[in-house]
Symmetry: C2
Subunit: 397 residues, 2 copies
C-alpha cells in the first residue's frame, strides 16, 4: 500500500552524472524516424546487409545443441572459441595475438567505457582527435578527464601534435580507418610515427577499428596493434560486419591491462551473453565473413559513389567534403559563416536530416561542419536529399 505524506525526494546526482547529456545524434534520430524524412544522420548499418537467416540458424543450433550452457552464467572474459578465432584473425605481420589478451564486450561502446574506467582519473589528460567519435567522448567524459584535442589533416591525426601536447597523457584515442565522423584514414607512415611517438611518451594508444573491414579503395593499412602489441589497445566490433543489435565487440590489450579490464567488466555487468557469443562463433567459424564482407563493401561503396556524385552535382562551390576510402561517413565543410546547427533545424523542416559537426569536437568546434551517412538511404533518395540540402546551403551563400 502506498504510504502517504512522505517528504518529496530531492535528487542529488554525482558530479559525473550532472554533465551527462543525451547524444545529439540519438535525439536527431528520434525525429528522423518519420518516414518522410531523408536521413543522412544515422550511424546505423543497412539492415539489407544483415545475414538474418544465418543468424537464425546459428541461434537455433546453439540452443538445440548447447542450450543449457549457452543460457547459464559464463566467463567474464568471454567464449573461448570466439576469442581464439579473433586472436588468429589479428595475428599477422609477425605479431601473435593470443586469446587471453582479448576481452569480449557488450559492443565496442562498452570497451570505451571500461577503458575510461580503468585508465582515467578526474583531470587525467586524454588525447582525442579533433573531431572525434562522439560515443568515445561520451564514454570517457563520465570519468571527467581533461580532453586535449590533437590536430588532423587529410592524412588523419598528426603525430607531431601528439608529441607537442601528449606528455603525461593517460591515453590517445584514435579511429584510424574511415573515421567517424570524417571518413578520413590515417596514412601508413603516420601509423608508424604515431606508434613510436606514443611508445616514447608512454601513452597507451587506443586503436578503435569498427569500420576497418569496410574498405572500398586502396589496400587496407597495417593495424597499429601489430606494430606494438605491448602498447596498443585494439577495439573491434561485429556491429558493422554482422549486425549491431546483438551488442558484441572486443578489446585486445596487453595482458596486464586485459586482466584489469576483466575485473572492471565483472563489476559492471558480470559478462556478455554466452548465447550471443556462441551464435556469432557458429556464424563465422567456417569463414563466412570472408564471403559476406565483400557484399557489404559492394553495397556501401556504390552508395558512397552515389553520394559523392550527388554532392558534385548539387552542392554549391565553396563547400568541400572528404572522399572516404571506406566506412559510412562523408564530412562536409561549409563556408565559415554558415552555422551547421542552425542549418540542421532548417533542413529537418524540409525533411532532410544530418548531424552538425559541433558535438564531435572535444576542443574548439568548427561550427561549419556536418556529417553525412551514405549507407541506409536509397540512391534516388540520396540524390533528392542532397539536392534539397544543396539548395538550402546555396541560399545562405
Amino acid at each position: 500500500m502506498k504510504l502517504n505524506n512522505l517528504p518529496k525526494m530531492e535528487w542529488k546526482f554525482s558530479a559525473r552524472a550532472e554533465q551527462l547529456k543525451s547524444s545529439m545524434i540519438r535525439e536527431i534520430l528520434k525525429i528522423t524516424q518519420r518516414p518522410e524524412v531523408i536521413s543522412f544522420a544515422g550511424g546505423l548499418p543497412s539492415t539489407d546487409t544483415f545475414p538474418v537467416e544465418r543468424m537464425r540458424a546459428a541461434f537455433d543450433s546453439v540452443l538445440a545443441n548447447s542450450g543449457k550452457s549457452a543460457l547459464q552464467y559464463g566467463p567474464t572474459d568471454g567464449y573461448l572459441p570466439l576469442r581464439e578465432y579473433i586472436a588468429a584473425s589479428l595475428s599477422k605481420d609477425g605479431t601473435t595475438i593470443e586469446a587471453d589478451q582479448i576481452l569480449m564486450t557488450s559492443g565496442s561502446q562498452q570497451g570505451l567505457d571500461l577503458l575510461g574506467k580503468v585508465l582515467l582519473d578526474e583531470g587525467s589528460k586524454a588525447l582525442v582527435e579533433s573531431p572525434s567519435y562522439l560515443g568515445a567522448l561520451q564514454a570517457f567524459s563520465v570519468y571527467r578527464p581533461e580532453f586535449v584535442a590533437v590536430e588532423m589533416d587529410e592524412n588523419g591525426l598528426i603525430p607531431s601534435s601528439v608529441a607537442a601536447k601528449g606528455a603525461g597523457a593517460r591515453l590517445l584515442y584514435c579511429l584510424p580507418n574511415f573515421q567517424n565522423p570524417t571518413g578520413l584514414t590515417l596514412s601508413q607512415q603516420r601509423r608508424t610515427e604515431l606508434v613510436k611517438t606514443c611508445a616514447n611518451l608512454g601513452i597507451p594508444l587506443l586503436e578503435d577499428d569498427p569500420y576497418g573491414a569496410l574498405c572500398y579503395r586502396g589496400e587496407p593499412m597495417s593495424k597499429m596493434l601489430n606494430m606494438n602489441p605491448e602498447g596498443v589497445i585494439y577495439m573491434g566490433s561485429f556491429s558493422k560486419v554482422l549486425t549491431p543489435g546483438i551488442r558484441l565487440g572486443y578489446v585486445v590489450a596487453p595482458r596486464t591491462l586485459t586482466r584489469k579490464l576483466e575485473q572492471a567488466k565483472q563489476a559492471t555487468d558480470l559478462h556478455t551473453a554466452q548465447l550471443t557469443q556462441m551464435a556469432v562463433y557458429e556464424v563465422i567459424k567456417d569463414g563466412f565473413l570472408e564471403q559476406h564482407i565483400p557484399t557489404i563493401r559492394a553495397l556501401y561503396s556504390s552508395q558512397c559513389d552515389v553520394m559523392l556524385d550527388a554532392l558534385n552535382k548539387f552542392f554549391p562551390k565553396g563547400v568541400t567534403w572528404t572522399k572516404p576510402d571506406g566506412g559510412m561517413f562523408i564530412w562536409v565543410k561549409l563556408p565559415q559563416h554558415i552555422d551547421s546547427m542552425a542549418l540542421a533545424t532548417e533542413s529537418i523542416a524540409q525533411n532532410v536530416a544530418f548531424v552538425p559537426g559541433v558535438p564531435f569536437y572535444a576542443g574548439a568546434p568548427e561550427t561549419n561542419t556536418m556529417r553525412l551517412s551514405f549507407v541506409t538511404v536509397s540512391p534516388a533518395k540520396i540524390y533528392e536529399g542532397i539536392e534539397r540540402l544543396g539548395k538550402l546551403i546555396a541560399s545562405k551563400m
Copy 2:
C-alpha cells in the same frame, strides 16, 4: 610489421581501477569446476529450470518475423512491449508503474553499476547491509564511496540503524527478499519503517529483488517500490526466473532518475540487445512465468529442505544457520574462533566448496561465517558434502 626497440609501457591505472579485485566467488568457482568437487559455493541457478525449448522457439520466432529490427541498433531504454509488461506486473497495492520509469539493463549487475555511476561521488556515504551482496559492493566500490554498514538481525536490516547512521547518505542498498548471502527476509513492519526512514532522511532506497519470486514459505511481502514509488528504486532480473546467461534485468525508478540512468547507459553500452528483449517478451507475454516459477520453487524448496535436514544431521552443536523462506542461500555461523577462510582452503582440499563470509562485509567482517547455496547440488551430494564439512568443522571445535 612489429617495430623494434620501443620503450616498455609502464601501465598507470586509475585510482578506482587500482582497488578492483576479482571476486573471490568467481575465483572459487574456477577451482570448483572440477567434477569431483561438491560445490555449495555457486550462485548459479540450476540449469534444470531453464526453459530451453521455449527460449529456442522464441528466438526463432523473433528472428523469423522481425529479424532485421531485432538485429538493428535499438532504443537505450529498452523494448517497449517488455517494459509495458514489467510495468503492469509491478503495478499493485494501489501504485501504478509506467513503462517510462523502466530502464532495461544487461543484467541486474548493470543496474548496480549505473546507479553507482549516477548517484555516487568519491567519498559519498553509501549505506549497505552487513553482510551485503558482494556484486553490489563491487559495482559501487568502483565509484569510491564511503561504505557505511547498517546492522541486521533475523528480521533483516534494522531501520533504526539507518536512522542513526544515514544522514547525508546518497543511497541505501537493500536486498529484502531471501538476501544474498544470508537468506534473510526483511519483515513487513520493517519495510514500512525503512521506507519512512529513508524518505525522511532523503535517502534513495535501492530495493534489489532478484529472488523475490522464489518464495517457498509464507506470503510474499509487499514491495517497498509500491509503498513509495517516488523514493524507491527497484531492481529486477530474469536471471533467476528464466535464465541468467542472457543478461537481462531492469531498473524501475522515478522518471527524473530513469532519464539520468538512460543517459549513463547510452554512454556505457548504447542499449541492451533487442533480440534478447524481444525473445524474452515472446516467452513470457502469455503468462508463462505464472506456470514456470512454481516449478522452480518446488525444486529449490525441496533442495533447501534437504540441506536444512543435512545441516541438522551433520553439523555439530554450536554452529547455527538461517532457515530461509526462499532464494538460494543458507548462512552459517561457526563458533567465533573458527576462521571460515582457512576452513574453505581445507574444505576444498577435501573436495567440498563454500564461500567464506568475509568478502560480503563492507564494514568489520564476521570471520566465522559462510554461505551455502543449495540449488545446484543433488540431494545425495548435499548429504555427502554437508557430512564431510560437518566433520571438518567438528575437528576444529
